[in-house]
Symmetry: C2
Subunit: 164 residues, 2 copies
DNA sequence: AAGTGATAGTTTGATCTCAAACTAACTGCA
DNA sequence: TGCAGTTAGTTTGAGATCAAACTATCACTT
């Protein structure tokens, strides 16, 4: 069983009875930040489990996709695009290179930087993950409903872009 | 400067010129999972920085709020409500108790379990954080727009609840 | 009672992440 | 030239998190 078991609840101000009370979320119930976290976590977990068979995780997937669509991208650009600190990317890229999914070339004109590209193996893995991701997305779409989807994603994008 | 510097980009299939190209997100652009992560991360960071002055973080805030609204809640219930594994909660609760914000009482009828309650100090800290959270939420609301807010939060809730 | 299976919370180990400090290399200006 | 400030990527340290294994206790059945 993943996550904690949400079963019965015997609670009460002081003296404990055997009444199963629902949780009171107070203001959290309507706050965006909290619900964003809960939804993200649920989505992340579900996709993690889906793609575990391939031996990757959602972060790797985004990384591979961004490299595929932006051949020659550099690590710092990649980190900005994927919303992670550049230092978080160091071990990820290292691992992808070690496993032969990504190729790293030093840039002639700037010897500090690397350019990243997918190898054939990388493209293959990406294709596998894309299939898993599509399945996952269909699941999310079903929950969101086709009507709201575009607006929902737009709102997420605005949030990501505009929070101070 | 937080996160990596998203500045210029000199990229190109093979030979590098000084053209600043925007990132191609491919299918990520429309996928819910990815945008959920980006928005969540942005929101989390912003609130973290806001509440850093109080010496807490978003997770602690949810924890305190849930204890406040559900006096006598047990750790396992709390972990389910806050979407974290119960084992993640152990050090959090320990720390809150150590710092005198939360009080932990063994349950007579079940000596495995604890009941959690806020102390006066805990209520004070929660009040402080609530102020910070309200400011943060106003900021998010402004981005989302009052019209869409309810629907947006409902969708987040459905996602959290219904992802397999 | 004794034993079996579930449950509350902790421990441990593996990942992932940020943030700040660091190295190397670039750019621009004096 | 040569120095000052910036940038690309790495290292290091701290903190979260999950998941599985574990301990203690409970609840139920026999």
């Amino acid at each position: 069983m993943r996550k904690s078991d949400s079963k019965k609840a015997d609670r009460g101000g002081g003296s404990g009875e055997a009444t199963m009370k629902p949780i009171d979320f107070g203001p959290l119930a309507t706050w965006v930040g909290f619900n964003l976290r809960m939804a993200q976590e649920a989505s992340f977990q579900a996709f993690s489990h889906h793609s575990a068979a391939i031996g990757e995780n959602p972060g790797r997937f985004a990384t591979l996709m961004l490299i595929a669509r932006n051949p020659g991208i550099r690590q710092t650009e990649l980190s900005a695009a994927s919303g992670r600190d550049k230092s978080s990317l160091t071990p990820v890229v290292e691992d992808l290179v070690r496993r032969g999914l990504v190729e790293r070339k030093r840039v002639d004109s700037d010897r500090r930087a690397y350019r990243l590209n997918l190898t054939a193996a990388g493209r293959k893995t990406l294709a596998l993950m894309t299939r898993a991701a599509r399945k996952h997305e269909r699941n999310l779409d079903r929950i969101i409903g086709p009507r709201d989807k575009k607006r929902f994603v737009d709102t997420l994008k605005r949030l990501a872009a505009e929070i101070e």
